[in-house]
């Protein structure tokens, strides 16, 4: 109590200094701890976007849930998409705690998503027209997600770090689920192999974009400097992209697939992968909800939201009465 009284008497600069000392010493910040506004706002944006990306991320795969080609695949993809929704729920709760002092709730996050004030991840604006896309999402998109999320496992904000730990553990299963679909296609008929190559061609650019622009100059803004400063993440976007190449490019080649970038190679002298930059102007358009499937998927959620309005009303009436 005495320590707390002393703390409340500190000036904002002194509080900030203590806060930075704590995170630099590797201490975890908890929901009720003092934190600078910039830190809170950065976390809310990051975690709310992560949450709605999990929820929107269920939609491209959802297309393939009823269509999965065997009983085993049907069960597998149902479980996988359910996990993604579970991650969304877990993250919404983390975001809710951070938003509470601002008088905002989960409802606000969902409404911000539907009203396009809150963005979702670039990959989930892309079309998934074949079963191979469903496999590729599991294998490479979840593979990429494991890399960005592992990068934040030691985040200074304790509740997010703990949520990510659980999410990453499940994502490993998802990547295996995706890889198993991909292997069946790669070892399958000519049509199946073609279907797989086309899916890779379609997803390659989105996968490069997945990690975000290399610097703020590319697109005008980037949160990576702030998140590194606050020990939310450690590696830069480009480091993560390079890690992704190191892990997956050899595997892609080993399956007999062609990467749709003839410049792609590992430069031994520089110790890095050389690749063609994606169109970052297009990236900006996509995350402004002008991607190929942005509006269609948002509309799907809006329809469901409107359609179920009576259920929410009924439940809140029950709660009030109780």
């Amino acid at each position: 109590m005495a320590a707390m009284m002393t703390f409340t008497r500190l000036s904002d600069e002194e509080k900030y200094e203590r806060f930075m000392q704590r995170i630099e010493a590797g201490e975890k910040i908890e929901a009720d701890d003092w934190m600078p506004d910039e830190y809170r706002v950065t976390l809310i944006k990051l975690i709310a976007m992560h949450a709605v990306s999990e929820i929107m991320g269920a939609l491209p795969e959802k297309e393939w849930v009823p269509k999965a080609p065997s009983l085993r695949r049907k069960l597998g993809i149902m479980a996988k998409v359910q996990d993604e929704m579970g991650h969304g729920q877990l993250l919404l709760r983390v975001a809710e705690d951070l938003m509470a002092p601002l008088g905002k709730t989960r409802e606000d996050i969902i409404e911000d998503l539907l009203n396009e004030r809150l963005k979702f991840h670039n990959v989930f604006h892309m079309p998934a027209p074949t079963w191979a896309d469903a496999g590729l999402i599991g294998w490479l998109v979840d593979g990429a997600a494991i890399m960005t999320q592992t990068n934040m496992l030691d985040a200074s904000y304790g509740p997010y770090a703990r949520a990510l730990k659980r999410i990453c553990a499940e994502e490993v299963f998802h990547a295996q689920h995706g890889e198993s679909i991909i292997l069946a296609l790669a070892e399958g008929t000519k049509e199946q192999k073609e279907m797989l190559q086309e899916a890779l061609n379609r997803w390659w650019e989105a996968l490069l974009m997945f990690f975000g622009p290399p610097t703020a100059d590319t697109t005008g803004t980037s949160k990576q400097d702030i998140t590194i400063k606050y020990r939310i993440r450690t590696k830069t976007n480009e480091q993560l992209r390079q890690d992704f190449f190191t892990k997956y490019v050899p595997r892609i080649w080993a399956l007999g697939l062609k990467i749709p970038d003839e410049t792609m190679h590992f430069d031994k002298e520089k110790g890095q992968w050389i690749y063609r930059q994606p169109d970052w102007e297009r990236f900006k358009e996509i995350i402004r909800n002008n991607g190929p499937k942005s509006q269609e998927r948002l509309e799907l959620r809006r329809t469901a939201y409107k359609q179920n309005a009576w259920v929410r009303e009924a439940l809140s009436a029950v709660r009030t009465a109780g």
């Binding site: 929820i55 269920a58 939609l59 959802k62 297309e63 393939w64 849930v65 009823p66 269509k67 999965a68 080609p69 065997s70 009983l71 695949r73 049907k74 069960l75 149902m78 479980a79 998409v81 359910q82 929704m85 579970g86 969304g88 729920q89 919404l92 079963w131 679909i181 069946a184 296609l185 070892e187 399958g188 008929t189 049509e191 199946q192 799907l300 959620r301 329809t303 469901a304 359609q307 179920n308 009576w310 259920v311 929410r312 009303e313 009924a314 439940l315 009436a317 029950v318």
Partner: protein, 277 residues
């Protein structure tokens, strides 16, 4: 007892040859019922009233798909074809599911303008789960041991499903105005086809004669007894008599909703013949 192994492929498991037809018919009813309802459940993914429900419903649909898989496996073991083929490749006329379970979740498509009806879904799931529980209880005493074993396994999961749908059923029906009106309408709608779930079809008498399952009359009475307390809880009149408004699925009578469902659920399966997925 005469054995007719030659007609079967790959060492199938046997029931009494004269009773096998009734057994196969029953297994198709059980498998197709769960398969179609799980499919309808999977269409709801991402569209449920809130995210917690999305997760819970998805888990129930997975269990239900798992139950269908076990029944199709029993059919495979009897030499009827592979489980995947039975689930994906049989035409509508060969399906034995109750019509209630194939009916669409509402207007629209799961990817475009899904104007799905949560009231209909809750009532259908609740009624069906009660009927399923009664049926499973009977099946645990089935003369076909592999079926009795599967039934015992499924029973364990059903307790939670029942609790889930009962909660929704009571909560929404007891809610004011619009919710109660919608639920009352949904109850009428489900009741109009519910006799199709309760019937054992043309081979029902044979099924009972071979000790595979209890009589339709007994199963129906037990299901009604199981549903009755919920109606008392919500203060509504019993929606009798149950009907088969859209046909008797046990006899292969189905609606265009089933054609659409089968086309979707087997789209990839049929895309490359004989492929391994």
């Amino acid at each position: 007892m005469e054995r007719r192994d030659s007609a079967m492929s790959e060492k199938p498991i046997h029931f009494h040859p004269d009773g096998q037809e009734a057994l196969v018919e029953l297994l198709f009813q059980l498998a197709d019922d769960d398969f179609l309802l799980a499919y309808r459940g999977s269409e709801w993914l991402g569209l449920a009233p809130h995210i917690e429900e999305d997760i819970a419903f998805s888990s129930i649909s997975q269990d239900t798909m798992g139950h269908a898989t076990m029944y199709y496996q029993l059919l495979e073991d009897l030499g009827c074809g592979s489980a995947d083929e039975l689930a994906h490749a049989r035409p509508a006329s060969a399906r034995r599911n109750a019509v209630l379970l194939e009916r669409a979740n509402g207007p629209g498509h799961y990817l475009r303008e899904p104007r799905y009806d949560w009231a209909f879904t809750v009532v259908r799931q609740y009624f069906y789960t009660q009927a399923k529980r009664v049926r499973l209880e009977s099946l645990t005493k089935s003369s076909y041991a592999p079926l009795a074993e599967v039934a015992a396994k499924i029973q364990v999961e059903l307790h939670y499903h029942l609790l889930h749908w009962h909660t929704w059923f009571v909560q929404l029906t007891n809610a004011p105005l619009e919710a109660r009106t919608r639920m009352t309408k949904a109850i009428q709608d489900v009741a109009a086809d519910f006799a199709g779930v309760l019937t054992l079809g043309a081979k029902g008498t044979e099924m009972v004669r071979w000790g595979l399952i209890d009589e339709e009359k007994v199963l129906t009475e037990n299901t009604i007894a199981a549903l009755a307390p919920a109606f008392a809880e919500v203060g509504l009149d019993w929606p009798m008599p149950f009907g088969m408004k859209h046909g008797n699925g046990r006899n292969g009578e189905h609606t265009p909703d089933l054609d659409e469902a089968l086309a979707t659920l087997s789209e990839v399966y049929r895309a490359v013949p004989h492929a391994i997925w």
